[in-house]
Structures are given as structure tokens and as C-alpha cells.
């Protein structure tokens, strides 16, 4: 058994003295795990950093085996994110979320392409948070927990949506929210209208996606959100209100 395709390294854990157990995401094969011989060594560890795009080859004698990877580095987005705390946190969060949320060995073309967009946007500064929030909502939808942002769950109107029900995941307009608005999750303007994203919007977006990821995806497995995702939320919480450029 074998396949070869470009893939994104999601996680690499040291195994033995010089090997690594890696999780990768490819468009056709989805989330795959495998052993990388020498992947933890000084010579090859750089290739198997989370977020790197690698030309992969997976081989195993039987399909149900763990298998092993070999690969050649195609692009290293992590190199552009090292000095930027927001970009690095976005990269670590996206990789950890994908590694923890996706089912293994199921094709995920939309998630793969979305993650590529996030990685491509790492050099743009905090703007990449917009792509990340959208990607997390796409991830929820692909996993069967998509939010319904098409109309207000209370009044049925399609305009003026301002909240999301934390229970049903359906949008609620400002009018429809009424006295319940304190219990609803704010819907950031950049997800619904044409409002330019800002720090407050990113915080709301991360809180929105994080709530459903924590409850429906990770909570269903009795797991907490990945530490890297929580760390990202902490960093974004510290961004100045008017900061759409600063770090």
C-alpha cells in the first residue's frame, strides 16, 4: 500500500532517539499518521515541523498498519511565522485543531485547501485571523456541526443578524435577541456583512468557533480544546482594540 501527494504536517512527536510520529493532512487521503524514520533527527526535524508543506510518500504492507512517511520539503510557512507571535499562534492552533478534530483517512479537500489559505496568509499579520475563523467554521460544517447564518432563528429575517445561539448554532438578529442577547454569542460583522475585521471581531469569531469546537468536536470525545488554540485566544484577547496591523 502506498500513496504520494503534497501534504501539510500537522503534528510531529518524537519517537525513540531519532524518529518521529507524524500526522499530516493531504487533499485526497485526509488525515494520516505514520512513522518518519529519522524525522526527529537534527538533519530532518526541520522538514517535519507543523505547518510545513511536504511532498509525501506513505507506505505500509497492509492498509490498516500505521505505515511510514518519507517526504521532501516543498514550502516552510513556519519560517515566516517564527518571529510573529500572532502568526505562530495561528499556525500552531490550526494544525493542532485539525490534528485533533478530523477523522483519520477520509478525504478532506475543502479543509486542506482552507488550511493552505491560512498558511499562505501568515505573512499578512493579524489579518490571517479572519481566514482562520472562516476555516474553523468550515471545519465545523465538514464535521457535521455547521452554523446556520442564513436567517434569524426567531424572526426569520435575513438582515441585521448579530448573534448566534450557543445551543442550536443558528443566527439571531438584534431585534430577535431581545432580553436573551446576554446569553447569545456575538456574530462578528466580517462573517456576516462587509464590516472590515478588527481585533474585537477576531475575538468574537474565535469565541464563536471555539464554543462549538469545544462542545461538539472535542467535548464529544471528552477532550478540551487544544492548548495551542487556547493560547491563540489568549494572545488575541491581548490585541489592542484598534490593532489590525500591530502584533
Amino acid at each position: 500500500m502506498e500513496w504520494a501527494a503534497p501534504g501539510i504536517v500537522l503534528a510531529a512527536a518524537p519517537y525513540g532517539e531519532g524518529d518521529a510520529l507524524c500526522a499530516v493532512l493531504s487533499e485526497e487521503s485526509g488525515l494520516y499518521r505514520g512513522l518518519v524514520r529519522g524525522g526527529g533527527s537534527r538533519a530532518r526535524a526541520a522538514t517535519w515541523q507543523p505547518g510545513n508543506i511536504v511532498q509525501l510518500r506513505w507506505t505500509a504492507r497492509l492498509p490498516e498498519q500505521l505505515g511510514s512517511f518519507t517526504g521532501e520539503l516543498v514550502h516552510a510557512p513556519v519560517a515566516f511565522a517564527m518571529q510573529d507571535r500572532v502568526a505562530l499562534a495561528v499556525l500552531a492552533s490550526a494544525c493542532a485543531t485539525a490534528a485533533g478534530a478530523l477523522p483519520e483517512r477520509e478525504p478532506q479537500p475543502a479543509i486542506f485547501r482552507g488550511l493552505l489559505r491560512v498558511l499562505a496568509g501568515l505573512a499578512t499579520g493579524p489579518e490571517v485571523l479572519t481566514d482562520l475563523v472562516r476555516w474553523e467554521l468550515d471545519l465545523l460544517r465538514e464535521l457535521g456541526f455547521g452554523l446556520d447564518l442564513s436567517r434569524c432563528a426567531v424572526t426569520g429575517v435575513t438582515g441585521g443578524l448579530a448573534y448566534v445561539s450557543p445551543r442550536t448554532g443558528r443566527a439571531v438578529s438584534a431585534e430577535g435577541a431581545g432580553l436573551w442577547r446576554e446569553r447569545l454569542l456575538p456574530l462578528p460583522g466580517f462573517l456576516y456583512g462587509n464590516t472590515p475585521p478588527d481585533a474585537a471581531g477576531w475575538r468574537q469569531g474565535l469565541a464563536l468557533a471555539g464554543h462549538f469546537l469545544a462542545r461538539d468536536v472535542f467535548g464529544a470525545r471528552h477532550q478540551a480544546l487544544p492548548a495551542a488554540r487556547q493560547r491563540l485566544a489568549e494572545i488575541v484577547a491581548g490585541l489592542p482594540e484598534d490593532d489590525s496591523e500591530g502584533h
Partner: protein, 194 residues
């Protein structure tokens, strides 16, 4: 039945760099010359095992507490270099490029490895900075996602103290040819040009 020799070979085989075959070779060399090689090794192991301590100031391993580096009056005490492990400290000491003090974190934040902030030796660093005297904190952590994330995290924690925080540079190694470097190293080197 497992003999004492098998037990010894098994213990050697668990050490980094050893496998069953190399462990057998090492043990054979030792038992061939017990007086010249084995007993001195056994005595040295015993002495270190009984005396080695974790320095309560920096986290280094030494037979003294505070360790020899922390107790050295000739060190630049306003310069503290933060490293992941004692192995990294030893590497920097070999290079003889750092004449200040150290602080051993004991790892990096790692979601995969399950290492959280509470597992790192940061609690004793902040008081060191709070006591004054430290003018610069050098973060010499590995150029990995975990290492960089840890560096940002430490910088955040240290920021209220007002101490200047710097990081070791990343780029072209000594003797390294550009055409064999990976893309990530080249990109980092270009971004850190001066």
C-alpha cells in the same frame, strides 16, 4: 535466566546512542579490564549519583547548589540566557560565547508532548529578574514551532519586569553553503539580515 551481565547490557542499551549490539560491545570492553575501566566507571557513577543536584537558582545540574556557574563571581550577572535543557547549557558553555548566567526551562510548551506552562521552570526566573540586576534576557530556544511559541510566551511573562528580551539569531550556519540549506533556514536568514 538473566545473568548480571545481561542486566548490565540491558541497562546500557537504554542509554541514548546505544542499542543491544553496541551495549554488548561496551560491556565487553568493561569486563575485559575491570580494574582499569569498570571500577573507575562504577565509582564515578556512584559519586555523581550521590552528589549531583539541581541548582535551585538556574536549574543546572551540578554537584554544588548553587551550581558552579551561578557561584562564579566572574560571570556577567546582568545577562541571563534561557535554554531548554542542561544539554543546551553545556553546548553554549562549549562554545564559550556566553559569559553570563543561565536559566534552564526544562523543556518547551508542547501540545503533542503534553508540556504546559506549569511544567516549565519559569517560577524561579521571574524572582531572579525581580531582584534587579538583570539587564538582558537572551532566549536561546530551539528554532521549532514549540521553541518559538515558548520564546514568545516567556517574553510575554517577562515583559512586566522591563528587562530587555533578545533571541538568538537564525540563519546560515558556519561553513554552510546556501544551495544545500532548506527553504525555511534561508527565509529566516534573509529576514534576519543586518
Amino acid at each position: 535466566m538473566i545473568t548480571d551481565l545481561d542486566h548490565l547490557i540491558g541497562l546500557f542499551a537504554k542509554l541514548p546512542g546505544f542499542g543491544p549490539r553496541s551495549a554488548r560491545r561496551a560491556v565487553l570492553r568493561l569486563v575485559e579490564q575491570p580494574e582499569a575501566r569498570m571500577l573507575p566507571l562504577a565509582n564515578a557513577l556512584l559519586a555523581v549519583a550521590r552528589n549531583v543536584k539541581v541548582c535551585t537558582v538556574c536549574g543546572n545540574l551540578d554537584t554544588r547548589d548553587p551550581c558552579g556557574i551561578c557561584a562564579d563571581p566572574h560571570r556577567e550577572r546582568d545577562l541571563i540566557c534561557v535554554v531548554e535543557s542542561v544539554g543546551d547549557l553545556w553546548a553554549l558553555e562549549r562554545a564559550r560565547a556566553h559569559h553570563g548566567l543561565y536559566h534552564v526551562l526544562g523543556g518547551t510548551l508542547s501540545a503533542i508532548g503534553g508540556t504546559g506552562p506549569e511544567d516549565l521552570n519559569l517560577a524561579s526566573l521571574l524572582p531572579r529578574l525581580g531582584q534587579g540586576g538583570a539587564g538582558e534576557l537572551i532566549l536561546a530556544l530551539s528554532a521549532t514551532v514549540d521553541g518559538a511559541a515558548t520564546a514568545h510566551w516567556v517574553a510575554d511573562k517577562v515583559a512586566p519586569s522591563g528587562v530587555r528580551v533578545t533571541r538568538v539569531a537564525q540563519g546560515v550556519p558556519m561553513g554552510g553553503a546556501l544551495d544545500v540549506l532548506d527553504d525555511g533556514t534561508l527565509a529566516a536568514a534573509l529576514r534576519a539580515r543586518r
